[in-house]
Amino acid sequence: MMSTESPIIRVVDDDQRFRVAVCRVLRAAGYEVREYPSAGALLLSDDEQAPGCILLDLRMPGPSGLELQAALARRDRCLPIIFLTAYANVPLSVRAMKGGAVDFLRKPVKREALLSTIRAALARDDERRTSREELRALRARYDLLSPREREVIHHVVAGRLNKQIASAIGAAERTVKAHRARIMVKMQVGSVAELVRQVDCLISGSRELEPQAQPVRQAAVP
């Protein structure tokens, strides 16, 4: 599921003249752009829900680009970050990349390099948003399951036969069959293979998604 909103590129740079120039390129390339003179300004006024990415200067008065990156990570915002700086060295770029930056560009930056990195960042944002959406929907469907059905689903995913499941949960084989049918309907899947994939998504997604996510893996252990 693709997001329908158009992406916004946030440009954070204290050098107003450079900021204006870069924004011109981005606007000319058809992007919607918002300018921020400092990391603080972005933190205060940005609509984090809007898709897009952040083009971030490294050295600024007040919080630096790396500090903003760390702050955003703590706040669980997931806008991709591209660093764009005149002041670059290896340790700084390593820190930035380890912090999850899409790329680390140096001023002056050529249009092709800038725009292709922007595209990559937007793709990553889009992908992340999509998988987030999917995960959210998946979680919503999963939440529909009764506790008994959740118990059954993990036996199913583990590849056990109805008979084995019945003896494991102490129920009739017929009851297990009924649970299975309801699970397939509630999870909106047509095959066990699809169900396995969905549960995998839930398990891996639960770690990066909502903190209140249920510990699915634990339940999977018989």
Binding site: R17, A21, R24, A28, G62, S64, N89, P108
Partner: protein, 579 residues
């Protein structure tokens, strides 16, 4: 050697005296007896002079005493004594005396010399015979064995120098103490032998004492002391030198000190000695040495050339000490300084790169944006493109400004000193910063005093200082709310001799902890600052003979102020400027 020659001479003199005696007294009746007696006396003299010759100084007095006794016995005298009469002291000191058995000894001093004529005669070198001895000289008791009453006394001067008269006295039977010339000269010989032995002992003792004192001084030094020949052969080393190299004097003297220097440094040390030979001077030299533990240390030496009569150096005396610790510390410091210089250079280069990349980045993006606008919209985008072009123009200037700034920093361009009107300078700089001021929404006010005396200075440098202070001031007001962002630049003339420029901001002020170090290198309150701006400003102002200072304002913000000396004759300088 001198002493034995003297002994030989004395022996010869004694023999000659005997020959003379023989010739003169040949016909006399008691010739045979006398001859035997004087020959015995001659042997006695030889014996005495030999005994005194090899006497250690401390034994000389005792031997002189014994010699006097032997003379008394040989000549059957009552007594024989050595005396000294010092100028201005009316008494004679008896330094040595011997007497026959039963004769009372002389006191150490003979109370008063009551015979000025007698002393005068002695001083002239004449011997004096006194028939009846002075009452203060104790005489043999009248009841005694050999004679009665007063015995004749013969006084013979031996030497007289510096007013000090020394002599020998004989007292005894008139026959022995005869005033005959031969007799006197023989007896004088006794005095000469004895007194020369005494003075030699005294000199030797004095020498010994002074040498001991000197050696103590030299040996108790912690400094190393040595003497060496021009080929670096050691002729003397003190205790400290021996201790340093852990060798005995014997092991060191006769060796060349070059052997104590690591091979790699020997040429340098040799060259230093050669240069001292050519041009004798006291000069400090530092070189490496091989320490007894095998490690290499450093010593510092000052050598003094000792010149011979021909004016050429025959030896060096040198004082040295170990400077290994100092040298190591210095090396470490040098390495550190070098490393930090590299760090600073690296930081500077990075900072310069940053400064240039910023406008270049803006230029590139602006150009590309303009291209994109041309491609997409054509004529309708022309106003926008025109704006972009003017921005590009501005950025190019900004980049070249940075380069200009770096050039003036790096190249030590000879400063062009000229009379300057600081009001003009302020106006120029303010015009220059106006765009930034608008951007930062800072109001810049000029409070300029008219008819300011000119100052003699380098325009670009002073512009840099002012620019630096203004930019700092604007920077400090980033957090100040907009209506209060005010920067005032004020010029004033103080007592007609100083021109003052103040840059007053309404910013956050200067932390008290930083204030004292504000103008030092690498002190900065800005996150991106290198901390060179203010230290550079201070260097510039000080090179102009001025001062720079900063303080916090009572009503907030800070004031930076520099003072420059005014040109004495403003009119003249104006004329110069006009031409």
């Amino acid at each position: 050697m001198g002493a034995s020659a003297a002994a030989g001479f004395l022996g010869f003199t004694a023999t000659a005296a005997v020959v003379v005696l023989l010739l003169r007294q040949g016909q006399r009746p008691r010739t045979e007896e006398l001859l035997t007696k004087w020959r015995a006396f001659e042997h006695l003299l030889l014996d005495i002079s030999a005994s005194l010759l090899d006497a250690p100084p401390e034994e000389v007095n005792g031997r002189v005493q014994r010699a006097l006794l032997r003379v008394v016995e040989a000549l059957e005298l009552d007594r024989c004594a050595l005396f000294v009469i010092r100028p201005g002291e009316p008494q004679a000191d008896i330094t040595h005396t011997a007497q026959a058995h039963g004769v009372p000894p002389l006191p150490h001093t003979i109370g008063q010399v009551r015979y000025p004529r007698l002393v005068e005669a002695l001083r002239r070198g004449d011997s004096v015979a006194v028939q009846g001895a002075a009452p203060e000289i104790p005489s043999r008791a009248p009841a005694g064995g050999r004679g009665h009453g007063k015995r004749p006394l013969l006084l013979i001067p031996v030497s007289s120098g510096g007013g000090v008269l020394s002599g020998i006295s004989f007292q005894g039977p008139g026959r022995e103490v005869s005033r005959s010339e031969d007799s006197v000269s023989r007896l004088r010989l006794v005095g000469q032998i004895l007194s020369s032995a005494i003075s030699r002992a005294r000199i030797e003792a004095a020498l010994h004492t002074s040498e001991k004192k000197y050696r103590n001084v030299v040996d108790s030094q912690t400094d190393l002391i040595c003497r060496y020949l021009p080929d670096t052969t050691l002729t003397f080393v003190n205790e400290a030198y021996c201790r340093y190299f852990r060798r005995t004097r014997e092991q060191l003297i006769g060796r060349m000190f070059l052997e104590l220097i690591p091979e790699g440094s020997r040429d340098m040390a040799r060259q230093h000695v050669e240069s001292l030979l050519e041009d004798p001077r006291a000069e400090v030299d530092e070189h490496e040495v091989l320490r007894p533990d095998g490690s290499i240390g450093w010593q510092q030496w000052t050598s003094y050339a000792i010149l011979g009569r021909d004016g050429r150096v025959f030896e060096f005396q040198a004082v040295g000490r170990d400077i290994t610790d100092r040298k190591r510390a210095q090396e470490a410091e040098d390495r550190l300084a070098n490393a930090s210089r590299l760090t600073v250079l690296g930081e500077l280069a990075a900072s310069i790169a940053h400064e240039i990349r910023q406008p270049l980045g803006a230029i590139l993006s602006n150009t590309e944006a303009a291209e994109m606008l041309l491609e997409s919209g054509g004529k309708s985008r022309i106003p926008e493109i025109r704006e972009i072009l003017s921005d590009i123009h501005r950025e190019v200037l900004r980049a070249s400004e940075v380069i200009q700034h770096i050039r003036s920093l790096v190249q030590h361009r000879p400063p062009q000193m000229q009379p300057l009107d600081l009001n003009d300078l302020v106006r120029d700089v303010v015009r220059f910063v106006a765009p930034s001021a608008r951007e930062f929404r800072v109001r810049v006010d000029m409070d300029l005093t008219g008819s300011l005396p000119a100052v003699y200075g380098e325009q670009v440098q002073l512009q840099q200082v002012l620019l630096n202070l203004i930019v700092n001031g604007m920077d400090a007001m980033k957090e100040t709310s907009e209506p209060f962002r005010r920067l005032t630049i004020r010029t004033r003339c103080i007592a007609g001799r100083l021109v003052e420029i103040e840059v007053i901001d309404a910013g956050h002020g200067i932390a008290e902890t930083i204030l004292p170090r504000l103008f030092q290198s690498f002190v900065t309150t800005r996150q991106d600052g290198l901390g060179l701006g203010l230290s550079l400003s201070r260097s510039i102002i000080e090179s102009h003979g001025g001062t720079i200072s900063a303080e916090n304002n009572a009503d907030g913000g800070a004031t930076f102020r520099f003072l420059l000396p005014a040109l004495d004759d403003t009119r003249e300088s104006n004329q110069r400027r006009a031409s």
